[in-house]
């Protein structure tokens, strides 16, 4: 599970350099997110632009990553393709996360 992170505009941007977050990698994703966000101050933006598929295990791992951040820091999402967005919409998780159409929009706001 390849993640990379970079501080931008006061946020920590974590980019998923993989095409899938699925049951095969859900636990790794959660662990890597913990490592990448250890020093994050208040806001983390998860850039999913390269991801073209997530299943419910991948969704659960993203929820777990948000919970790991605790209530003082928040996790926003950016760059969801239509398949990934559908999973958030059907499970109503689009009401739990703030979802930005692009990384640019996430950092502008």
């Amino acid at each position: 599970m390849n993640l990379s992170s970079k501080a931008e505009n006061g946020a920590l941007v974590v980019t998923v350099n993989e095409t899938r977050i699925d049951a095969a990698v859900a636990i790794q994703f959660k662990d890597k997110m913990r490592e990448e966000t250890e020093d994050a101050s208040n806001r983390v933006v998860l850039n999913l632009a390269q991801v073209d598929f997530i299943d419910s295990s991948g969704l659960g791992a993203i929820v777990a990553a948000m919970k790991q951040l605790g209530s003082d820091r928040r996790l926003d999402l950016a760059g969801l393709n239509e398949n990934v967005e559908r999973v958030f919409r059907l499970t109503r998780m689009d009401t739990v996360f703030k979802i930005h159409s692009s990384l640019g929009e996430a950092l502008a706001g």
């Binding site: 049951a23 598929f53 919970k67």
Partner: protein
């Protein structure tokens, strides 16, 4: 000349990696039938949830096994069936369509329980049969 029938069958070992490889093969098979991306995405989501469920719940150390997924283009969409030799579904029934509650405090948000809800939302004609020690789940992903 009759048109070539659009169908496929994939067998794979029951593991998360096996599911991933099978989904990539299935995606390529459906794509070659010039299906639009929306149906492709809906089909992949439902198949992923059904196949993961087989691997996580039906198969275990006592029931290692092969899973078979079949698909066929029909008039109204794509018809799929998933067959495995694992344990039957609990109570011999397809799990329900309820979504887990999400209006909870942050730390209580659910990290699972979404799979069957999505299957019910995206698939039609869900049918489960247990016969001769095998599970068979079939469903339709409609064109629209």
């Amino acid at each position: 000349m009759p048109q070539e029938k659009k169908c496929f069958s994939v067998r794979f070992p029951g593991s998360p990696r096996g599911v991933r490889r099978a989904l990539l093969i299935i995606r390529a098979e459906i794509k070659s039938a010039e299906v639009d991306n929306d149906l492709l995405g809906r089909a992949e989501t439902v198949l992923a949830e059904v196949l993961n469920n087989v691997v996580e719940h039906a198969l275990d150390d006592k029931h290692p096994g092969l899973v078979e997924a079949k698909g066929e283009a029909v008039k109204t969409g794509w018809q799929f069936s998933v067959i495995d030799n694992g344990c039957p579904l609990p109570d011999g029934k397809i799990p329900g369509k309820a979504l887990p509650r999400i209006n909870t405090p942050l730390q209580d948000l659910p990290e699972g329980g979404f799979g069957w809800a999505m299957v019910h939302m995206l698939a039609r004609d869900l049918t489960y049969q247990r016969r001769s020690g095998r599970n068979s789940l079939s469903f339709l992903i409609p064109f629209h």
